[in-house]
Subunit: 256 residues, 2 copies
Amino acid sequence: MIELTAAQFALVYNAFSLTIAAMGAATVFVWLGRSQVADAYKTAMTITGLVTAIAFYHYLRIFDSWDHAYVVANGIAKPSGKDFNDAYRYVDWLLTVPLLLVELILVMRLSDAETWAKGTKLGVLAAIMVALGYPGEVATAFSTKWMWWGLAMIPFAIIVYELYNGLGEAIAKQPASVRGLVKAARNLTVASWCFYPVVFVLPMLGISGRASVVAVQVGYTIADIVAKAVFGVLIFMIAVRKSGVEANRGANLQAA
Amino acid sequence: MIELTAAQFALVYNAFSLTIAAMGAATVFVWLGRSQVADAYKTAMTITGLVTAIAFYHYLRIFDSWDHAYVVANGIAKPSGKDFNDAYRYVDWLLTVPLLLVELILVMRLSDAETWAKGTKLGVLAAIMVALGYPGEVATAFSTKWMWWGLAMIPFAIIVYELYNGLGEAIAKQPASVRGLVKAARNLTVASWCFYPVVFVLPMLGISGRASVVAVQVGYTIADIVAKAVFGVLIFMIAVRKSGVEANRGANLQAA
């Protein structure tokens, strides 16, 4: 832990508090919205809210850990001697990142066999990716950090490939009215995930010291809000629109 | 932080506690009421409750921060050395002010394209407005404060213009039974929002020292209750009335 200015400490502190509010709000939003979607999409809504609820829990812990790691006085935030527990992030991602991919697959409503095959494949790859990143995060030697970063990038690359290829075909079969939204959700996942390996390497790129601490914490926070809360709202919109399309189709079939 | 009388400290303390109760109550009111409105208005009700729920969370934090910022003894509230974190307000507004505009647009039930266009435009303007106000709030030099205040007033003015012009036409197309209520909700938004830039400039107008601290905190608190909780009840009333009108129209069509 290194000394920060009071303003730097406060920026991270307020970013964490904002994330608690955003994750809590997103959770309630999709869980209340669950009653507005067809039965086929209710599990997707449950899981979408679980992702933000798990993040809500971890940001409460992260906020407290940050608050206890420093003592602020006279414009300076001095380390209190208690370490800030960065591992909360990896515990969170280990649970939420596989679930994020599962919610995307569920809202696409593929066949049961495809849902299971793609869900387990992407979910396991995501868990491996997070597990490989952790030893790099806690290592201090840059060479060790780069090695684990490189290893974690392998499952990362396979997931991105799968999202554009295997899932690309499935997206092309989605109803026309949601195809754009599903593509947007897929692209948002990939774009927001690109934040993480970049934030990870900031300290290794010479962005060191105080600015690096603040950039890493605020960077991960923004990435989490986009990848989980904004993504969750997109998944809800897809589910509502598909529920409408399918209800209309059912009504037309009955009328015919 | 400056010294206050115990009575001044208590006035702000009790105003914050009242706001916690009011925001919590408003949240439960609209979320329970969600089951009484037609499906088309359920998302508006969800978001109306999210605004007050997010404010509820922030007022819990604000209350604690205020309580820890002073030590009260012998009729005097002395600064404890821990800063009162005013940034909670801006974090709150960054999330809730765009959502407030979105709930107003959703309850009007425009076309999907118009809802999206007006929602993103007003939401983004609102977020910019809040983000521009923050550097002014934390600045100490009056000239700097005035500059950021002036910059924040630009999106503020555009939003007010949009609410009376772009949205004015849409209001004219609302069912006769709710047109007055929708206008009232729109006017309440603009009127309550006018509090904020006024409260902001109180310290710059020579209302300084103890009275200024109390006026700013109590002023923002009243504005928040009106803009979020009272406004939320209006949105609920509009949704209930429109649900009734549309159910009647549906029944008349079936009878014809």
